[in-house]
């Protein structure tokens, strides 16, 4: 499965390009709307073309990401997918309780993280050593919170709560406790 960093790079490129384009458009508009010249009515054809473009963009974004970001479909269908390894994790009193000191996963194995909270709403996120995020989910008490993930290369990851659970929760960090090893 493609690394989430690749998806983030793609998003950074796409949004930066869009942001620069819309800023330039507004600068152009601001300059030209004050310039002397004949006032011209905007054609309704242009308006309907713009509406069509918005509809196409709005719908196609999710179709494209569903078919290109591998964890999207895996997440929706995770009940039907057999995990190679399952980790039962509990959260209580602002602490993660792991089934073992380290969670070891083989490259390309599908690992299921089942996380239960016994008190508050927390988050469960995996982070690389440069603090960038691999994935995250919410951990809601009274419900099963499970996420299936496939790692495509070896690495060591840190678990961190990604949801505010009061001042005590700010440093819910377990450093380097997930290790992905080559087969």
């Amino acid at each position: 499965m493609v690394d989430s960093q690749v998806v983030l790079n793609g998003q950074t490129f796409a949004y930066t390009f869009y942001a620069l384009a819309i800023i330039l458009l507004m600068l152009w508009f601001g300059y030209n709307v004050t310039k002397s010249g004949k006032a011209s009515k905007v054609s309704s054809a242009l308006f309907y073309s713009f509406v069509t473009l918005l509809v196409v963009l709005g719908v196609s974004l999710h179709i494209v990401t569903y078919n290109t970001i591998p964890w999207a479909s895996m997440d929706l269908n995770r009940k039907e997918i057999k995990a190679d390894k399952t980790f039962e994790i509990t959260v209580e009193n602002h602490k993660f309780i792991l089934p073992s000191e380290k969670l070891v996963i083989n490259v390309n194995d599908k690992a299921m993280f089942n996380v239960r909270s016994n008190d508050l709403t927390y988050g469960f996120g995996l982070f690389r050593s440069d603090n960038s995020m691999v994935f995250q989910m919410q951990v809601v008490p009274g419900h099963l919170n499970d996420i299936l993930w496939q790692f495509d290369k070896p690495g060591v990851y840190t678990i961190r709560s990604t949801e505010y659970s009061g001042p005590k929760g700010a440093q819910m960090i377990l450093k380097d406790v997930v290790e992905v090893i080559a087969n």
Partner: protein, 543 residues
Amino acid sequence: MNFKETFMNGEQGLFKPSTLTPMQKLVLRFVVIGLIYYGFAVIEGMIMRIYQISPIAAIPDYQYFAILTAHPLVGIFGSTYSIVFGAFLFLVPFLMKKPLWSFKLANWTCILIGVGTMIFWLAGFITHYAPLYTLYWPLPADFSQFNPLGGTIFVAGIAIVMLGTVFFVINIFKTIVYTPEGWEKQPSKALFLSAMGLSGMTNMFRKKENQKEHLVSLPVAAIARGTVDTALNAGIILFTGVLILVYLISHQLGFDLKNSAVDALLYKNWFWWGLDLIADGLVLIFVAGTWYLLAMLITGRSLFMQNIARAALLLELVVSWTVWSHHLMSDQAQPGFLKVASGEMVTAFELITQGLAFFITLATLWSARPLKMTNPLKFLLGGLLGFGLAVPAGIMQADLGLNRILHNTQWIIGPHVHVAILVGLTMTLYSAIYILFPIVTNGAKLYSQKLANFHFWAHLIGGIGMGAFMGMAGLKGMLRRTIYLNGEFNLYMILAGICGGLLLLAFLAFFYNIVMSVGLKGVIGIFTPSKLDVKILVPEAEK
């Protein structure tokens, strides 16, 4: 006039509070309160920006999170609600050419929002009650972290604001449908249906010669439709507040209720359904309506594609009721169909409805060119750009794949929330303030155009820059709602802090400009009673 005279009497002594009607004074009071609370929010924001670079030793972490809790609530209720409610309580009667239904109720709205905000702010400041605005159950009732008495006062403050909000809602709808004394009987039902956008919808399917005249102007229709969401939201917040109060008060009386009696996921759905009526409902509807009004006032022309604009507002209202699930895309127990249907698909409609409003506003402006680059026009363009940037950022994060790596990062709060609120919403409000300023002050003159220009550029660059650097940090994995102790994202946070400083300078320049325009005596005069009739909106001479 020298500096001292201008400071005391305003620019050229043109602002005379004694000539103001009660309604003019009331709207100016709303604006003053709104700007003071905006100042609170900016200062809180700067404290948090500095804290994200390096935690401040004098502020413990629990105080930081209390600031983080108060900050959006002061910004939305204390500032935005005050300015928006004040403006709309003036504009609805102004546009409908009839007196406000109840001046007393409007006065109470102003008092309750001002007082309620101060109460919850003080409760947070003193007792450090900090469950954040998200209030994820059972955090608001976690007495190992929070003082229950502080929580009780905090929730009571919010409830007072909501009461003021309910008064606003009643006043707006009654003003639209009522028959003023001595007037011919008004068609209440037809006025209400027109305000809800049904006439615009049916006109789309009629031939041009058969189209019915709209009884309510488009800006009033937008205000009415946004007010529906305001009412629903007030109901949700009041109900949630009562639920939390039951737990808080029971604990103080010695009875600890079981937290698990409330399902955390169901609560989260309920809460986000209500909160999105603000974030994705009334903000987008009110903003679109304000853009239309500003475009019409700036150009003096009717709106491009008016019937579609009306229908889009009605569509946005329905969208706002069904869009909440995009906040729960990382909640694994949330049903998948809700994530896809409500979270992804309905949310994508916001790209369409807001895109329509964006296009219609620009097309209306374009049809009247050449226009003079006035303060209202430049701030309107800034507001359009803000939503042009922030809405697509929101659509991206409301995607199953991308949400997995964006949720609760600085991306959400930077390029989406802060750019939408600070650049999109606030610049739209500034545009409205600049255009209404001569109307509600009976022709007072702005002290300095240079300061207004500085205000514009510093706010625009500061707002977009801050959002951009927060977003870059978010893409690198920086979370929101937490504290980094080791300067992990310092490069981005220093740059975001500099941009935040620009926002603060922009606000100070604006505030100084307004005070110098009306003078200290003028500011005080706004808060003294008017001797004119409450039914008069603006003096005859100013019409």
